[in-house]
């Protein structure tokens, strides 16, 4: 019941706004209540600590195929629920109270719908609704970028993200269908994730077939996570999107693909990851390792050469997804724990950055970094908050981002070289290369900070400080990052028990 409330509260609030309820109030009430409920859920799951599904509710909609509107949370989904409710609350708070022109309600409706979609997807215990809920964000995102987006390219960008993600989702859909169809026993088709996972453990699907389905899922999920080379939608879209949408999309929704890899692709295709696609050929693992390096190194370089803050942040969020994939590719509990933690940390930190970026955008005439400078003297509070956010993002110890990254790195080497295994495998080589990304992210973040806030004043700009509200939002998110950064076990103990891995 609690879970249903969490998922449907935003939808109800959105409907209420659509029918004329005061937008900001309704959205705040719903997201605030959700924040509370999300904390309760996470707390309960953490206290149970048994890796089982909790708060389960299921209503069977169809017998054949077995389709259930079912929800439940374990540690992994509870973490992501927590992330979602925090970011949603913050996104609603920083939404403008009054929008010029029309569509005040749309701001809040879209935030709520994106949140509801993410929550539904993270909590669904049914493959169908897992997929379906994610798509709830499609139209709000399209409308918001088009109506309230920034920049001259916003129309093209709105199209790009919509069609790109639409296409990615369809590829994913094809993969999911192939998956469930090959797993389902004759006459007993089911979408139940738990049952499918059980069936997969039986191992009736040929490894070669598994590998191909895995590849399709990788492309489908990868597109949604902006895995290289399916990433080019992300940076421009985040740059163009209104602040709350950018926060929710980059912070929360993007994690769906990673979650899907962990919830669906790996458990249901236990042998697919390391099986050659053709005799003696590449395995999905090889491909994933190469692609994630593309994210970290190649997109990292692309990030360096961005000239506008918003584009840079967008590209950086693409880059960081590489680490999450790396954690998943470790295929051990530590790596997966690190990956989930990474999703959480990155979600909060990128939302924070976009919130600050949005605050700056409202106060400056440009976000082109080379034309700014020295703002630290004019707006010290903003500069301090941004510094926190930037350092979180580049993985400074004390922030959750660092803790998650280091977990992933250690996981990649866990037991890899001891005993007989003297010698680096592909995963370790990839990790070593990925580590260079730590340098890259420091380069672009510090460059940005230096160009915007440090040095001599660029032009005579006298922007206002962030409003107390924005400040509160930023402090809240920084506090979350610091808390979980200092005590990573807060999250890892929540996630840990749920990491039932294939093999």
């Amino acid at each position: 019941m609690t879970l249903l409330l969490i998922i449907f509260l935003p939808i109800i609030a959105a409907a209420a706004i659509g029918l004329g309820a005061p937008a900001r109030l309704a959205a705040l009430l719903a997201s605030g209540a959700n924040l509370f409920l999300g904390l309760v859920v996470a707390l309960v799951v953490a206290l149970k600590g048994d890796g089982e599904m909790h708060f389960e509710s299921a209503r069977q909609l169809l017998d054949s195929p077995e389709l259930t509107l079912g929800f439940g949370v374990d540690g992994i989904s509870a973490t992501l629920v927590l992330l979602t409710v925090i970011v949603t609350f913050c996104a609603v708070l920083v939404s403008p109270a009054r929008v010029a022109g029309r569509g005040e309600g749309l701001y809040y409706i879209s935030s709520l719908l994106i949140a509801a979609g993410a929550l539904g997807a993270f909590c669904a215990t049914d493959l169908f609704f897992f997929y379906a809920f994610h798509e709830l964000a499609l139209i709000p995102t399209f409308l918001m970028i088009g109506l309230h987006g920034h920049g001259r390219d916003r129309v093209a960008t709105a199209w790009k993200i919509t069609i790109y993600l639409g296409a990615g989702s369809l590829v994913l859909l094809a993969g999911l269908i192939a998956l469930y169809a090959s797993l389902s026993p004759a006459g007993g088709a089911t979408f139940d994730i738990a049952k499918l996972t059980e069936l997969a453990a039986g191992g009736e699907v040929e490894p070669g077939v598994q590998a191909w389905i895995f590849l399709v899922l990788l492309i489908g999920f990868g597109t949604l996570v902006s895995l290289f080379p399916f990433h080019s939608w992300a940076a421009p879209a985040y740059a163009a999107a209104p602040t709350p949408v950018a926060m929710l999309h980059a912070g929360v929704l993007k994690k769906f693909g990673l979650y899907g890899m962990m919830r669906v692709a790996f458990p249901m295709l236990p042998e697919g990851f390391r099986e050659p696609l053709w005799a003696g050929g590449w395995t999905p693992e090889d491909i994933l390792l190469v692609l994630l390096l593309g994210n970290i190194l190649y997109v990292g370089l692309v990030t360096i050469s961005q000239r506008y803050l918003d584009r840079m942040l967008g590209a950086s969020s693409v880059m960081h997804m590489g680490y999450a994939f790396l954690g998943i590719a470790c295929l051990n509990a530590a790596g997966w724990g690190g990956a989930v933690f990474m999703m959480f940390a990155h979600g909060i930190s990128i939302a924070l950055l976009f919130a600050l970026c949005g605050a700056l955008r409202g106060r400056l005439d440009t976000l082109e970094m080379s034309r700014l400078g020295g703002l630290g003297a004019r707006v010290p509070v903003t500069a301090t908050l941004f510094a926190f956010a930037a350092f979180a993002s580049l993985g400074l110890p004390g922030f959750a981002n660092f803790a998650s990254e280091i977990t992933i790195f250690f996981a990649a080497f866990e037991g890899a070289l001891g005993g007989d295994a003297a010698g680096l495998g592909g995963l370790q080589v990839a990790t070593v290369l990925a580590l260079w990304g730590v340098v890259i992210s420091a380069v672009y973040m510090l460059r940005a900070y230096r160009n915007i806030f440090q040095g001599e004043l660029g032009g005579d700009r006298r922007p206002d400080e962030v409003s107390p509200l924005e400040r509160g939002v930023a402090v809240l998110m920084i506090a979350v990052l610091l808390l979980t950064g200092f005590f990573p076990n807060l999250i890892l103990n929540l996630v840990g028990p749920a990491l039932g891995l294939p093999h």
Partner: protein
């Protein structure tokens, strides 16, 4: 009561409406449409509660069969006709402008009663299981459409559409009859079940059977708007009166698919000729998907856009066709079920869109995307309804359109895993992705674009819509969303 009474009742209803047109006073003519809606509604109720559904299929005189799918398609026919009549009432002002100037005495009674006759044809077709009955009922439907398309006889577009539809339709009828003759020649039967037995038996000329199938496929491909026989669709959709376009896209397509499902089954079930048939269907599917989806991209006239979209949907539906013969091996709903479900969903969302468009057309006189500009402001309800309808057409999850598409993809993927024809799935994925573009173009027009920017006549004035239409729109929106989450009622009807 026996099911065939329903058809008789509907025909009588149509006749009664014509009679009202001829004999009733001027004032009561406005109620003809309402009478039609009410009568069809009554029939629908009878179908649901008095007739439906026998445990086993019933057969009368060997030419009329009644089972769950038959009941289902009768329901589809009744519902869509009702909605078309609702739309027709909204559209009446436009119709009057293009018909009654010269002949003031001619009312709109025919325009209301013809769909009712078409509906009777559709209902009968749902019960037809031999080629003769199928042919006759199909022609009843087609003939009604010829008249309806060309109904606005002072409107050049409508007439041109009527002529094009007439000539090409007749051409396709020629091929269909010729094909039926060949099927009969090869198998010596008209009963589809018997044909299936003969074809499965194997003592016939494969080449001749395939030739026969190709001819029938040409005739039916025309009805469902499959490439390369789709060529009439854009022009006819554009030219026909809006309610007729809606009826065409739903009724004609449903009719075509009912028949195609039944006729293709024996051929697909015959091991000897299954391969070429599947291959032909795959080629047609790909061509249809590409043509419909890509052709829609540059369109600016909404009706024309929806025409291409209708072609695209035919492509999606065709994906499931190869599996109708071997339904048991599919995880999830089989081909027949999936297609039927899709058609039901398609009915809801298409008619929803056309209802909105009819109101807009009547209010602003515009049929291009510019006419939709600023709709969100002028009528939030209509804009939202259109949004839901379009999203459903595009296959956004949690709408009935997604479920439909999902079931079809489900079959296509599984077929591909069996046959290796992944090209169909790939084309479908690309097509559906392109679909996001042209459907969202409508959303964009309604929400982003400002009314009056392109100097459209409607300006910012709020749009008027009648009470019945409002109810219909709201119900359709709710239905699209409801069945998008809970499809069981529709699937349950299918058995």
């Amino acid at each position: 009561m026996p099911a065939y009474l329903l058809e008789i009742f509907v025909v009588l209803l149509g006749l009664a409406m014509l009679g009202m047109e001829a004999f009733a006073g001027r004032g009561s003519r406005a109620t003809i449409g309402l009478v039609g809606v009410a009568g069809l509604g009554l029939t629908f109720a009878l179908l649901l509660f008095a007739v439906c559904c026998p445990e086993e299929g019933l057969s009368y005189w060997g030419i009329y069969h009644f089972d769950r799918p038959a009941a289902f398609y009768k329901g589809i026919a009744l519902l869509s006709t009702m909605l078309v009549l609702v739309m027709a009432r909204e559209f009446a002002p436009v119709l009057k402008r293009y018909t009654s100037q010269a002949e003031a005495h001619a009312g709109l009674g025919e325009f209301y009663s013809l769909p009712v006759f078409v509906c009777a044809g559709l209902m009968w077709m749902a019960s037809a299981k031999d080629l003769i009955t199928i042919f006759v009922s199909l022609e009843v439907v087609t003939m009604g459409f010829y008249v309806l398309v060309a109904y606005m006889r002072r409107n050049v577009g409508s007439l041109e559409a009527g002529v094009k539809y007439l000539i090409l339709g007749a051409l396709s009828t020629g091929f269909l009859v010729y094909g039926i003759a060949w099927v009969y020649g090869v198998t010596g039967e008209f009963e589809l079940a018997a044909i299936g037995e003969v074809l499965a038996g194997g003592a016939y000329s494969e080449r001749a059977a395939l030739f026969a199938f190709a001819l029938v496929a040409v005739g039916l491909g025309f009805k469902i708007a499959a490439v390369p026989f789709q060529i009439w669709v854009p022009d006819v959709y554009q030219g026909a009166p809006m309610p007729v376009t809606a009826f065409l896209s739903v009724g004609s397509k449903a009719a075509g698919f009912i028949v195609l499902l039944r006729v293709a089954e024996p051929f697909l079930g015959a091991p000897a000729i299954n391969g070429p048939v599947v291959l032909l269907l795959a080629v047609l599917t790909c061509a249809t998907l590409i043509y419909g989806n890509l052709g829609a991209i540059p369109q600016t006239n909404v009706k024309r856009l929806l025409a291409y979209s209708s072609i695209a949907h035919a492509g999606f539906l065709l994906m499931a066709l190869p599996s109708v013969a071997g339904g048991g091996e599919i995880a999830g709903p089989g081909g027949g079920q999936a297609i039927s479900f899709y058609l039901a969903g398609y009915l809801l969302m298409t008619l929803l869109c056309f209802t909105v468009l009819t109101v807009v057309r009547a209010g602003t006189g515009a049929e291009d995307l510019g006419g939709l500009a600023g709709l969100a402001k002028r009528s939030p309800l209509l804009a939202f309804a259109m949004l839901v309808g379009v999203a459903s057409l595009a296959g956004v999850p949690l709408t009935v359109g997604f479920f439909g598409k999902f079931f079809l993809f489900n079959i296509a993927v599984q077929e591909a895993m069996r046959s290796g024809l992944w090209i169909v799935v790939s084309v479908a994925v690309l097509g559906a992705a392109a679909g996001f573009y042209y459907y969202f173009k409508i959303i964009r027009a309604m929400y982003w674009d400002d009314a009056g920017a392109d100097g459209d006549p409607g300006g910012d004035a709020a749009l008027q819509l009648g009470g019945l239409t409002r109810v219909a729109v709201v119900l359709l929106v709710l239905a699209v969303l409801f069945f998008g989450i809970y499809p069981a009622p529709i699937l349950g009807l299918l058995g």
